[in-house]
Amino acid sequence: MEYTDVVMENFTCPKHVGEIEGANGVGQVGSPACGDIMKIFLKINDDGIIEDASFKTFGCGAAVASSSMATDMIIGKSIEEAGKFKNSDVVDALGGLPAEKIHCSVLAAEAIQAAIEDYQKNKA
């Protein structure tokens, strides 16, 4: 197992940990049985811009780092842009992940999509 420095940094001092008060889009994926759950909180303003994002993660180092990096990357983006967000964007930003840890970045991308869907459902 070989993590890049960026992964370790994001694991050791993750950004955006916790629950945002007044989040209007929340998505959760994974299950404890599989050893990973990722929950993403979004605060989206009326212009459809993601003003703030945060996460809670039960998972390995790569999962924590992916959550930290992913939330950091989507803050300030429109929900259209964020909707196109892919797991490979996280992997690239982290400087790569070990092959068996790619799925942890997939979780992050999926959790974001789930949170956006939740926001859209709430709005509708």
Binding site: M1, Y3, T12, V17, G18, G35, K56, C60, A63, E100
Partner: protein, 386 residues
Amino acid sequence: MRRIYLDHAATTPVDPAVVETMLPFFTEHFGNPSSVYTEGRGVKKSIEAARLQIAKAINADPREIYFTGSGSEADNWAIKGIAMKNQAKGKHIITTTIEHHAVLHTCEYLEKQGFEVTYLPVDENGLISLDDLRNAIRTDTILVTIMFANNEIGTVEPIKEIGEIVKEKGIIFHTDAVQALGNIPVDVKDLNVDLLSISAHKIYGPKGIGALFIRKGVPIDNLIHGGAQERKKRAGTENTAEIVAFGKAAEMATEQLEENATHMKKLRDLLIKGVMDNIPQVRLNGHPEKRLPGNANFCFDYIEGESILLSLDIIGVAGSSGSACTSGSLDPSHVLLAIGLPAGVAHGSLRLTIGKHTTVEDINYVVDNLIQIIERLRKMSPINAD
């Protein structure tokens, strides 16, 4: 930064005295021990001296000790060798659900080749039931293979009692004693075992050298065919340096057994108490008493093992989650599942295994930091109760 190594069940550093013994065999006494000339003859003697040291460590006859390239090879040889040689008598094997993968995957392979395997369950402490064993024995059972001490949760199985039951039925009995050697007494005469696997790198010897004890007269096929080495039972030019090192390590382990075990047990209990008293929602895995002197294995609810390991690593502590061989795979430990933990909980396991050089300060440092690490990770967890 000072490093605290608490993963002695995965592997141990080679003792400097053992390194010393080994060195001359690379450049000076490098001869092929099978040779007639001077360079080979001396080496042969050194190998036989090491064989005697190993034999003494487990109370066997030196002619019952066969060197292998690892504990895994010893396990594979014992199981496949007995199965292949004795298949005319029957094709049923009994083992447990908590064996090391070297045993489990070998049994699974044999299942593909037409053998039948019964995997005995264990209770919540990791102990098998002797009644289950008695009930599992069939007329076509040719081999029982049950580990001496578990590498993850440290539980020590009742090998002597198992041996008695198995012997009575005239079945061959193998035990994987890789984790037992150097930690608890191992006496093949007392234990009624026919085959027993050990590995040097768990007792401050080098990696890549193991041994299989084969009681005289036990019918077994070779696993590695070829030259006449190891009395024609295991081919390959002898790994002289590491054989000599294994001998020395076994001798030291035997001499220091009581002292080391007492020391490790003291620190283990300190560690267990420190963790159980200071961290909520934690459980100790493995048997409360019948466990290896150096083994502590915990499950922390709501968090995942690798995160704990990485956090510990950052502050200079090396531990493990599940067995070292499982990392790289993402499944929770088969041993933790076997003792009945739900997968979610099994993912949050931490194994800390103490060695002869571990100190009280090490343990205190680990406990203090672990309290904070667990708290921090739980704050990050979406399934934290509060």
